[in-house]
Point group: D2
Chain length 350, copies 4
């Protein structure tokens, strides 16, 4: 029987790092063998270093592992990275330069021309970009990124429509969960009984990333999709799950049933390859009048499905709807794990 | 010295009814002399009948008043009404037919052609419509309404722009407070740590009411404004204060400073007439990057100012911004009291 | 291979009824074959009748089942009941009288002398009381109850101490989750950003039930334990999980380590009998200074373990600590299912 | 007419510092003329330095004031201090040593023998202790402190009972608001939908401070009251207002009416002296079965009254009840301002 592929986690003690540990705890292909965090944590056991913040128990084996400094040295080839953008810029490139396959959740390199920004259901083919990376040519190291947590749910809902009807314009207003800001993140005095109508850089990320994700490979880069997107990003008092109000204009006319069918029938590379973390149904349409809701729907498809609902005509564009996805699973750690699985299935690693 | 004008309250025990009592407690022109509620409450003292739900104390005088049945009989001429639409349809028209001046917060008659739907800062002149009402002609009774709580903040923000630059298209996504649903209203299990992306009929109301409010008097009716509006209405875990993400397209170009000036300089009839409940500044622009927020800004202008913020270019329409207003003060009871004051100032009552 | 035992659920559409469905969905011994709810629901499919309020999906098979009226007729022998006290008084006794084994979560019959009030880990032997019930003698019907949701966590923590050191006096102040009040239950305007220091009858229930649970069988009844308990019950803005601050006076001196050992080593009948719903460890002591917490600890032992923490000296009594348990699993549906399993393991049904 | 007394604020930008600004904004005796905060803030205007976190607007005059470093130099004689314990230990003593009257909210010196720990309604006479302070003898500087936010509400409720019936034993379990932890303070991920059963040192403070407050002057110190107190401190998702469940044993028997009368009739030095911040009624008994509640009752007496409710027999001690007080007004800034007023009224300053 096969030995599992050893993997490492950068930023292992943070909110997304903890989700990596959860999702990789019983993973059929990968085994966490190396954990790194800030210098403050290095040398401690993981249990000492991390304030475990999930309701599922911290696995015993991980609890006892020693946290390494964030340096390539003894790390395994495949690295899942949950660093903030500033740390990522330096550390992740050091790992790629040292020959590692870096599957990053950070925004630092997402928009770099030769770095694939990938949702496997949407643009798995972009992963081939890694071959154009200087790191790759140099010693086989490379980097793959997943989009921002608020982008993923939206683009999962847009992708099947874009394929069939071409999306022209998108308005989106988000209501984002606090876990998206990490820990300690949002102060309780700022969000209890409140809304914060601002998340630094979030709107720009949604706009740029969506066009790259829905764009097409062109030589050593991606030609962004020809669509306009305008985002309003808000923080609300929800633990997990980003809810988004969306209006879309399509280039080809579509009936409600066609849109719903596009969502319900959407099956892609990860489903065909039976990637372990791929949900059976990447986009689920819920016909109830008041769904999706973060508390009730964020865990559908083990937190990997985007849930759409409330499809109805828009009296400015064509259609409006709500989309929800789990921001630290599908929107972060699960997105990266799925990218890692795609890399493995396509022979980039292992 | 002058005696105050006696007023009555229909639906006095509910969430909006309680706000009426708060706002009228020390009113310089009006004195509450009659309270009515459902048959279940009639005959009890107000203190017994109402579950007082505000943090300011219930005034002693009101506490001891006896709740009347919802019938014209002994009620004063001027009636503030906080009934749900179904009850309003029957009861409010009975009061108007009996010669009362009904200042209603309900949606029942808002869109009826000869019923003025008024925000005094926006379309105070529409109040003249009452003279076309059959009730008025018959025995001097009439009805004036204020818009839905989610419409008011938006239209306060749009009105000064509409005057100067003409609003063509509006996208709005709301994050509405639980008090908007009355009491008991939203179940805690539905909203704690959650978002409900649906409020019955709310989107239709916003769309229709905005056009009537920004429209112009034309004979015995209102020619609705020529603008398109598409609304997404959501409920969030906030006690009071509706926050709205807005994108607008204008017919005449406007610079950011011009828009901000239009808001900051907006002064209207209620300010000129020095109506007691009129805020000094109906629209306040807050330049902080993360404002307005319901917890911090809903009480500005004693809850009667709409607060705008985050003005920035929209890459589909022209501009986007956030607007906030207190849903049970400016959005309901305060709106009606201001309408009542306008009626008095213009000689319709008193 | 064995056929499963068919079971019915009374009050199947409510908060606790839904937890029954969750816990019985893949149960190794029991199969839900009959669902009943109020007349309003009878005749509809379960999916139509219930507002499913859990984040795990409603099982397809259950969704399609037709809801029956709450009458014995075609119901299976074993009935799990999640009715409010008033409905229970009439309906549950009708089922027992008709020969059913009623495993009830209601308070209606808990304190009746010949009705066992059982936590299998604490007083499984009390179940023998059913043989004294008139129903049982008449036609084999009987009734078993589990305690109130706030009592269970407390008594799980007290029982191992009572055995070793005898509990003399108990102060307890609860912070109870909203789900304990059912649906719609607590209005959001009452609990968002708030505490309600009152739950009807809850303090009396905790005091009386604890003494019966820790008491001993004596002929056809239970001699209550000789201990005093004073409860303060509060509602807080938590979805699931009751947290309780407890001070205890013991009759025999105990060191901290002995108390912790008593909790950690506590294994009882359900563990010996390997009842499917029994947690491996009924009481878990968490040594972290700030635990247990409802969000993080309510699901330990699949929601069936009570979690204790913060053991420290009390400067009036001997010790103080915090205890937490999941109020709709261990505190309601899970408690009843475990009682049902004990009945089956001991030959009362099946 | 009199010039106001100039005052300074140490720790002016924090949660309690902001409440000082609010309470002193229109104070009839005091005028804020000096603001200090950490070195990071010094030199900026207050508006730049502080993240204003109250729903009442920041006064214009304060907004434009320049923040000073936390050094005596140019500060006025009377200083209100809102520093954390560690900073207070050094800075507050430096101010006292430099001849300032320091009215401190910090825990640093509360239990020091010659430092008065004062609630004016409870032990205003203790203020005379300042004359024993070395600072005072040296150059007229001195220090007065108020208790911890969770202690004040409790002791306000105990004091009138202690006078009439002598309190022997007290159990108290608190449910404390997030604002008590300052800003950013409690992370939203820790408290949203959660309870934290732990606040560092809080239980010890409540126990020690209560005895000192209810104790009696004895020479150059205070003989603590002869009572036992056991506290359980919890954090809940409430913005402002600490709710406490209390059981008490009295040395002299008391009927419910006598206890309620003791609370309702409690009037003390601050009421006699008509101190501007003193509430008319320091303890208000609310007879409703489900009160006090933080959202509804924290602002009674302008946030300076403690509200008691739910008086009922305790079956271990004599009585149990709930008490609530506003933790950043009566429990912090308002407490200190009232102490400052008492100092002025008694000729220690001004």
């Amino acid at each position: 029987m096969n030995k599992k592929i050893p993997v490492g986690i950068l930023g292992a003690t943070g909110t997304v790092g903890q989700r990596f540990i959860q999702l990789l705890a019983a993973h059929p292909w990968f085994e966490v063998e190396w954990l790194a965090a800030s210098d403050r944590s290095a040398g401690k056991t993981y249990a000492e270093a991390a304030k475990w913040n999930l309701s599922i128990p911290l696995p015993e084996r991980i609890a006892r592992m020693t946290v390494s400094p964030s340096e390539p040295g003894k790390a395994p080839k495949l690295i899942f990275a949950a660093l903030d953008a500033k740390a990522a810029r330096e550390i992740e490139s050091a790992f790629a330069a040292a020959g590692h396959a870096v599957v990053s959740n950070s925004s630092a390199f997402r928009m770099q021309e030769d770095v694939p920004l990938v949702i496997p259901e949407v643009n798995g083919d972009h992963i081939a970009l890694v071959k154009h990376q200087a790191w790759y040519k140099h010693n086989g190291g490379f980097m793959v990124t997943n989009p921002n947590c608020s982008t993923i749910g939206l683009v999962l809902a847009l992708a099947p429509l874009h394929r069939r009807f071409e999306v022209d314009k998108v308005f989106v207003a988000t209501m984002q969960a606090i876990s998206g800001a990490g820990y300690p993140g949002v102060a309780s005095m700022d969000i209890l009984g409140n809304v914060i109508p601002y998340i630094v850089n979030e709107e720009d990320k949604m706009e740029a990333e969506s066009r790259k994700l829905l764009g097409s490979l062109q030589g050593a880069g991606v030609a962004p999709a020809d669509l306009s997107l305008s985002a309003h990003c808000n923080r609300v008092a929800v633990e997990d799950g980003h809810t988004e109000s969306v209006s879309i204009k399509l280039r080809r006319p579509a009936q409600a049933e066609e849109i719903i069918a596009a969502w319900q029938e959407f099956r892609c590379l990860p489903q065909k390859l039976k990637l372990p973390t791929a949900p059976e149904q990447p986009v689920i349409y819920d016909p109830a009048p008041d769904r999706p809701q973060p508390r009730l729907d964020r865990d559908r498809g083990q937190g990997m499905s985007a849930v759409t609902g409330r499809l109805r005509p828009c009296n400015i564009f064509d259609w409006k709807f709500t989309v929800l996805s789990h921001n630290t699973i599908r929107g972060a750690a699960g997105a990266a794990v799925l990218n890692g699985e795609l890399l493995k299935a396509q022979g980039y690693i292992g």
